[in-house]
Amino acid sequence: MSTNDWPLWEIFIRGAHGLSHRHVGSLHAPDAEMAIKNARDVYTRRKEGVSIWAIESSAIAASSPEDKGSLYDPADDKVYRHPTFFDIPDEVGAM
């Protein structure tokens, strides 16, 4: 049996022109070229995309779940960043 595991790749697909690439899943492939070929077969059998990105999973840096508080809580008390914070009188019209 082979112990020569193919590396894992993360696959991103652009669903249609004008949209950004979205993560759709992962797969194994020996290199980038094969990762894209395999992604075509695994993730776009029904015309799900017009463009594929593949990146080795080990090259991705990710925040950890424990960081959730320190990363996102500071935004909690800054509701003024949303336009709905401000009341604009009806007579002013659309803004």
């Binding site: 049996m1 082979s2 112990t3 020569n4 595991d5 193919w6 894992l8 899943g25 992962s26 797969l27 194994h28 020996p30 290199d31 094969m34 077969d41 695994v42 059998r45 029904r46 990710a62 950890s64 779940p65």
Partner: protein, 330 residues
């Protein structure tokens, strides 16, 4: 169902008060409908159970290609052949989505494959039955994929994020599978007497094994109770089996086929059909490795893995050589 007999490691479901704080917080997240993601803390039992369940499910998709692959070269028309080819390719894709979901739990795809090949892991009992005639392609799509959908639709809401997302993709594709099977059955049921006979014969052979796909009654099983508390199992086996029968009987009537069960009767009070249990002795015998096609299936998988070894190794060697050349050029 594709994971019929997943034994959990726990001894029963603990109440929130009996849990350590970390486990309690985890269970409370699940109760609140939160999704658990790969890097989140999880109890070891949850991880192990999921690996078994997702692994068994993935293996079923892969082995499930064999009974249908058997008919690709003998499909009656070019269109049927193209459709069957697309369906079998989908099953390979479903296996891959599921292996990827399992890998996020810290097991590699090659490890899972090795466990399938040496018999440490199981796949669904249904794929140990032979596909004897073209009508079996109809019966498999209609009944086997129909039963699979019954189980997979609720699993889209399962607590483990990667598993739930794989299920969403699979369910989207699966309804094509069931419809193409029913389409074959419709054509045969409207055909000559010989074709009608083939359709009925396929139905007779696949009805019992399809009911077995949901696994034996688990109303009193501690394993099931734990899986349901963790939301990696959403309904009891009996509940899903009943739903499957209630859905399938009217479809069989439409086809003009007879359900091979003398005890099948509408029960007004429960709003569903009464029906006979499948042969559970046969089921356990198949799980023990004595299914009519078990040896052939495992031989085919082992042969594919062994024959493909030089390709896998060769492609890795090629990738390494290219990488080295690129480094040398820089």
């Amino acid at each position: 169902m594709y994971a019929q007999m997943v034994k959990s490691t726990g001894t029963g479901v603990k109440s929130l008060d009996e849990m350590e704080p970390q486990e309690r917080a985890f269970q409370e997240r699940i109760n609140a409908g939160d999704k658990i993601e790969p890097k989140d803390w999880m109890p070891e039992g949850y991880r192990k159970n999921l690996i078994r369940q997702i692994g068994q499910h993935a293996h079923s998709e892969i082995v499930g290609q064999l009974p249908e692959g058997n008919w690709i070269t003998r499909a009656p028309t070019l269109e049927r052949k193209a459709i069957l080819l697309a369906k079998v390719q989908d099953e390979a894709g479903h296996g891959l989505y599921l292996y990827c979901a399992a890998e996020t739990l810290g097991v590699s795809r090659d490890e899972l494959t090795e466990m399938l090949l040496d018999g440490r892991m199981k796949y669904s009992s249904i794929f140990n039955y032979p596909t004897l005639t073209w009508a079996d392609m109809g019966a498999v799509g209609w009944l086997v994929d129909g039963a699979a959908i019954m189980n997979q639709v609720p699993l889209q809401r399962t607590s483990y994020g990667p598993y739930a997302r794989a299920m969403v993709r699979i369910c989207k594709e699966e309804s094509f599978h069931q419809r193409q099977g029913f389409d074959i059955m419709m054509t045969m049921a409207k055909g000559t007497d010989a074709q009608k006979h083939m359709a009925q014969d396929a139905f007779n052979r696949f009805w019992g094994p399809s009911l077995m796909m949901f696994g034996p009654s688990d109303e009193n099983s501690v394993h099931s109770a734990q899986s349901m508390a963790w939301k990696i199992k959403m309904n009891s086996n009996d509940e899903l089996r009943q739903k499957f029968v209630d859905q399938t009987v009217p479809q069989a009537e439409y086809l003009g086929l007879t359900v091979p069960d003398e005890n099948l009767k509408w029960n007004e009070e429960k709003g569903g059909y009464d029906f006979s249990q499948p042969d559970w002795d046969e089921f356990f015998d198949v799980l023990r490795g004595n299914g009519p096609e078990t040896t052939e299936r495992m031989e085919a998988r082992n042969k594919a893995w062994d024959d493909g070894a030089w390709v896998r190794d060769g492609m890795m060697a090629h990738a390494a050589k290219k990488k080295a050349m690129k480094v040398a050029a820089e």
